[in-house]
Every structure is written in C-alpha cells, then in structure tokens.
C-alpha cells in the first residue's frame, strides 16, 4: 500500500518534471505576490486587465516563436513581421474608412501578410536549407524595409471603433482577457493534435523523423507560418493599443520573444517544451519590469537589475528543461 503510494508520488514527480513550464509558473506566482505587495492595486480587475494588456503582444508573439523553436529552428524576423502588419493594417484603415467591413477586411489582410512572411521564412530555411539564425535575420531586414516603404514614419490612425472595442469588454470581462483565453484554448487544443506531436519529433530527432517518413520540410514551413500568424495577431493587438502605425513598432519583440520562450522552459535545440510555458514566460518578463518600476529603485540601476533577474531566470529555465530532457 505504502509502496503503491510511493510509486504514485514518484509518478507525479516524474510527470511534473516533464512539465518544463513549472519553474516559470513558480517564478510567476512569486513575482505576482511581490508585485501585489508593492502595488496592492494590482489585484483590482481593471489594473490586472491593464497589466495583461501590456503583456499581450509579447505573449502572442512568443506562442508563435515556440512552435518554430520546438521544430528546431528560430525566427528572428517576428519583430519585423509585427511592424509590417502594423503599418499595413493602419494604412488600409486610412484608405478604407472605419466601416465594419473595412475593419475586418484590413485585419484579414494583416493576418494574411503575417502568414505569407512566415511561409517565406519557412521556404528559406526548410527548402533552401539556409541556417535559421542568419536566414531569418536577412528576411527580417527585407521585411523591415517593406514596412518602411509602406509607412516611412510613425503616424496614421486606427478607427475609433477598432481600438475602443479592444479596450472594452464582453460580458464584463476585458477583450484582452478573452483574447488571452482564446490563445490558451488554441494552445491546449493544438497540443493534442497529431501535427503537434510530429512537429516535436521534427525538432527533437530530425533525422529519425525524416527517415520514418514525416514531412519534415512541410512541417518546418508550417511552424514558421504559425509564427507569422501569431506575429500578425500580435500586430493587430499592438495596433489597437497604440491606435497608430510605426514601422519600428515590433523591433524589440524579436529577442524578447526568444527570452520568453526559453524562460518558459522550451529548449532551443527543439523537441522539448510548450507554448503554455512561453505564455507564462511573457507575463513573467512584464511582471519583472513592473516590479522594478514599483520597487522605486534608482533610475540608473533599473536596467541592470532587470538584466540580472532575467539572466537568472533564463539560467533557471534552462536547467529545468535539461532535467526534463533526462
């Protein structure tokens, strides 16, 4: 009996160990508690929604990045894709007006642009066999150039109904919360698909996956397309948040998304991890920034403290992932 209990708890421990996002979740809880102490208003639904709104772009872009990383690649162009979709959508808004058809039309075009950029990345990496880091860096430059061509300077305006509904709520709950829940639902359902299992195989054991007949090339392209899709969604949120276009709006998101993914326990080598961890990782990054702001540290040391905390959590995330891999 006690033996069965012991093996039961061992099994639980083992399955917990497989959950590479555990560390991120623990860090999240601790950060949230400390944040709540420093800023008691954080617990008010309104403030919580605003905090989530700040985190949402990074959260979404990190989900897409996760799938590319799981497949054993990396996407350094997500920031540029976000910028391009942002300026394209704003430009279309300006041209088409603010009727519902115009708004949804522009959103659809934006998403299509994101996916198209992702597919182009996928072809460069999987078909032309460019090394992912340099290839997506090169495509990032091209995409950023196109964004500058579409809108050379920050400006333009998103229609009022668009950003107002983003800031608003449905059934008493903020739209940003609904979007987050929708993203979480997608992630959880997608994790159960056969495609996802095969994607993990492509990232973890590429040679074996190829030899067992998996469409490695197609799956890598699809992973990049997903990353482009989520970058497009990110841009739609960013456009609603800022209500304008900026050809550099997504720039900072590229490396932050990689940080969020690693923090969430996904191995850069591919095959281990998941997007839930990346979502938590993104929120953790925002909470770290919040914490430093509300801790009233002197201005000069804020960036250093942030850098040190992030480095520490990154190292922790990596060590956690390695234990899971064993």
């Amino acid at each position: 009996m006690s033996q069965a209990g012991a093996s039961g708890s061992a099994a639980i421990l083992l399955s917990l160990r497989r959950q590479t996002w555990i560390l991120a979740a623990i860090v999240f809880v601790v950060l949230f508690a400390v944040n709540a102490v420093l800023q008691p208003r954080l617990l008010e639904p309104g403030v919580m929604t605003t905090t989530l709104q700040t985190a949402l772009p990074l959260l979404l872009v990190a989900i897409g990045q996760t799938y590319v990383v799981l497949a054993g690649d990396i996407d350094l162009s997500v920031g540029s894709i976000v910028s391009l979709v942002n300026v394209s959508v704003v430009t279309l808004f300006m041209a088409w007006g603010d009727g519902p058809l115009a708004i949804f039309g522009a959103m659809a075009v934006g998403i299509a642009i994101g996916v198209a950029c992702g597919v182009a990345n996928g072809i460069a990496v999987a078909v032309l066999r460019f090394q992912p880091i340099v290839a997506t860096f090169a495509t990032a430059i091209v995409i950023a150039g196109i964004a500058l061509w579409v809108l050379p300077q920050a400006g333009g305006q998103a229609p009022t109904p668009y950003w107002r509904s983003y800031m608003g709520g449905v059934a008493g709950i903020g739209v940003v919360v609904w979007i987050t829940l929708g993203a979480l639902a997608f992630v959880l359902i997608f994790q159960r698909s056969r495609f996802y299992a095969q994607l993990m195989a492509v990232g973890g054991q590429r040679q074996a996956a190829y030899q067992s007949g998996l469409p490695v090339m197609g799956h890598r392209i699809r992973a990049y397309a997903l990353s482009g899709l989520f970058a497009g969604l990110t841009a739609l949120c960013l456009t609603a948040e800022t209500a304008s276009g900026d050809p550099l709006s997504g720039q900072a998101l590229t490396l932050q998304s990689v940080t969020a993914v690693v923090l969430g326990g996904t191995a850069l080598a591919g095959g281990i991890g998941g997007a839930v961890g990346s979502m938590i990782g993104a929120v953790v990054l925002i909470l770290i920034r919040n914490l430093i702001f509300f801790a009233r540290l002197p201005f000069e040391v804020q960036a250093l403290v942030e850098g040190l905390i992030i480095l520490a959590v990154l190292a922790g995330g990596v060590l956690m992932t390695r234990r899971a891999a064993r």
Partner: protein, 330 residues
C-alpha cells in the same frame, strides 16, 4: 595525352574548383564586382582614398568579429550575442579613461580588453559549466551589460577619445595607410597563426567538430570554451576602443549596430554555424563585403526602405552560396 598528364589535368581542375568554391575567393570576387559597379554608378567610388576609407570601416567590424569567429568555430551552437553590448562597454570605459588625454591611451588599450575579457569569461562559465545554450547566455548577458552601461554612465554620454589616438587610427601613417589598417593586419596575422599553427587553435576546431573526441584526446574542453567566450569579449572590447577612436565620442548603444553583422560577416566568410569549419580570413572577406555592399547602397542614394530591402535580399543570395545546411538523408 599520357596518364600522367591526365592526372595533372584532373589535379589542376580540382584545385581550380576548390579555389572557385572557397568562400574568401567568392567574397573577394563579389567585392571587386561591387567596386566596379560602384565606380560605374558614381565615378570615384573605387578610388584609392575611397577604398581606404571603406577598409577602415570594415576593420572595425572585422576586428569585432574576430572573437565571434572563434566562438562559432568552437561549435556546440557557439554564438556570441553580447558583442554589441561589449563594444559599447569598451567604448564607454575607454572614453572615460582617455577623456581626451593622449597620456591615457596605453592604459585604455590594456584595461578595456581585460575588463571585457572578464565579462566574456562569465559567458563562458554559463555556457561550459552551467551548460546554458550560448544564444541564451549571451542574450541574457547583453541585457545585463546594457543595464551596467546605464549604471556606469548614469544615463549621460561621457568620455571622449584622445586626439592622438584618433589621428593614429584615421590619418595616413605609413605608405599613406591609416593606423587602423595596420591594427587589422596585425589582428589578422595573429588570428591566422593562432588558428592554423598553434595547439590552441587546432583544439578549437577539434572541439567544434567533435567535442567528445576532443575530450578523449585530452583537450580541456570546458576551459577552452570559457576562454573562447573571454576572447570574444576581449576582441569586442578592443573593437569598442577603436570605435571610440574612430568616432571621437561614444553613446551607450554605439555597439548595437555590430551585433548581428559580426555574425553575418563570419557566415558569409564561409565559417559554418555548426562549428569546426572556417577561419578568420573568411571573416575578413565577409567584413569587407558587408561594408562595400552597405556603402554602395548609400551611394545609390536610395531611400532607407530600398536600402534595407536590397541589403537583406543580397544577404539571402550570398547565403545561397554557403552556410546552407546538409540535405537530410534517407
């Protein structure tokens, strides 16, 4: 034709093939073509003075990318994303040490690379002993250094180069060549000798090709890796001193523009990101190529978006020639 002639013929054909496929030759051919194109578009582009000016700019990138080259050859996904921050750090410290005084030049030239070497060692410890992937470790370290820069500078730009140092780098020294080029030549000779002729250099290739085998032959793999990241920091810091000397002053993000180009220069120079293959002369060619390409795009007086699009597209075309992964085998 006798059999001997035939083998001779094959041999020279194979040699010619190898030369044509060698990345530095390809890069140099492209550089010459670009120079010719530039001259055609805007007479004077390929004048000796202009080429000299281009080489001085390329030298900055080339020297900063020297450590990056070794880290990448060392393998295990070796890459150093902290070089940009290290360059800024080097420029900031050097500017504060020199602060316009010629007497402090030597001090800056010694202290700065030592300081950034030590920071680089931390990268190496994280990679070799904690086994954190280089990309993650150096990305995190870049954030820490950038934070440190704000602390050091208190958010205000400070420090300036010594006039003697700036003159040495930019003004003609011997044969009409500025000092910067001699510095680069020295770096290239040392790098070439170290990589090809010393046990240390050969071991870098060994751990990059097969770490387990290198360990069996008695190479101190972890220590070597720590050292590689330290050296990458030292070269970036030294590059920072040169950037300061070249521009006169520094600001806390002065090095950011060198981060990804330092990797691109290595890759288009034919060094594989998978490790174990390549060399510094490829990086030299890569740095020159990138600089000439950027300069030609500026000469074309294109708007910023056109410049970026062509630059990115050209990189993709260059990547077609090398830096491609192997086809999966059934």
């Amino acid at each position: 034709m006798s059999a001997a002639d035939e083998t001779e013929g094959f041999r020279s054909a194979a040699l010619a093939g190898r030369v044509l496929r060698s990345p530095h030759v390809v890069a140099l051919v492209i550089v010459i073509a670009l120079l010719a194109l530039g001259e055609a578009l805007s007479p004077g582009f390929a004048s000796p003075q202009q080429i000299m000016a281009l080489l001085v700019v390329a030298a900055l990138l080339g020297i900063i990318a020297a450590g990056q080259t070794m880290v990448i050859i060392g393998g295990r996904e070796g890459i150093d994303l902290s070089v940009g921050a290290m360059v800024s750090l080097g420029a900031l410290i050097a500017g504060n040490i020199m602060d316009g005084q010629n007497a402090a030049i030597a001090q800056a030239l010694v202290l700065v690379p030592v300081a950034t070497f030590l920071v680089g060692l931390l990268n190496g410890v994280g990679v070799a002993f904690l086994r954190i992937p280089p990309l993650v470790m150096t990305l995190g370290m870049a954030g820490v250094i950038q934070g440190g820069l704000v602390v050091l500078s208190r958010g205000v730009p400070s420090g300036r180069s010594a006039p003697g140092f700036s003159r040495f780098l930019s003004d003609p020294l011997v044969f009409g060549l500025p000092g910067m080029l001699f510095v680069w030549l020295l770096v290239a000779i040392v790098m070439g000798l170290v990589l090809a002729r010393t046990r240390f250099g050969l071991r870098i290739y060994a751990i990059g090709t097969n770490e387990a085998a290198a360990r069996l032959t008695g190479a101190p793999v972890s220590l070597l890796r720590v050292l590689l990241f330290g050296l990458s920091g030292a070269f970036a810091g030294f590059g920072g001193v040169l950037v300061l000397g070249y521009t006169g002053t520094s600001f806390i993000s002065v090095g950011d523009q060198y981060m990804l180009p330092s990797i691109i220069a290595v890759v288009i120079g034919g060094t594989a990101l998978s490790g174990g293959r390549g060399g510094y002369f490829g990086t030299v060619a890569g740095a020159i190529l990138l600089t000439v390409l950027q300069s030609i795009l500026i000469t074309l007086a294109l708007p910023e978006f056109g410049r970026q699009m062509i630059f990115g597209a050209t990189l993709l075309v260059l990547l077609l020639f090398y830096g491609r992964e192997q086809r999966l085998q059934a």
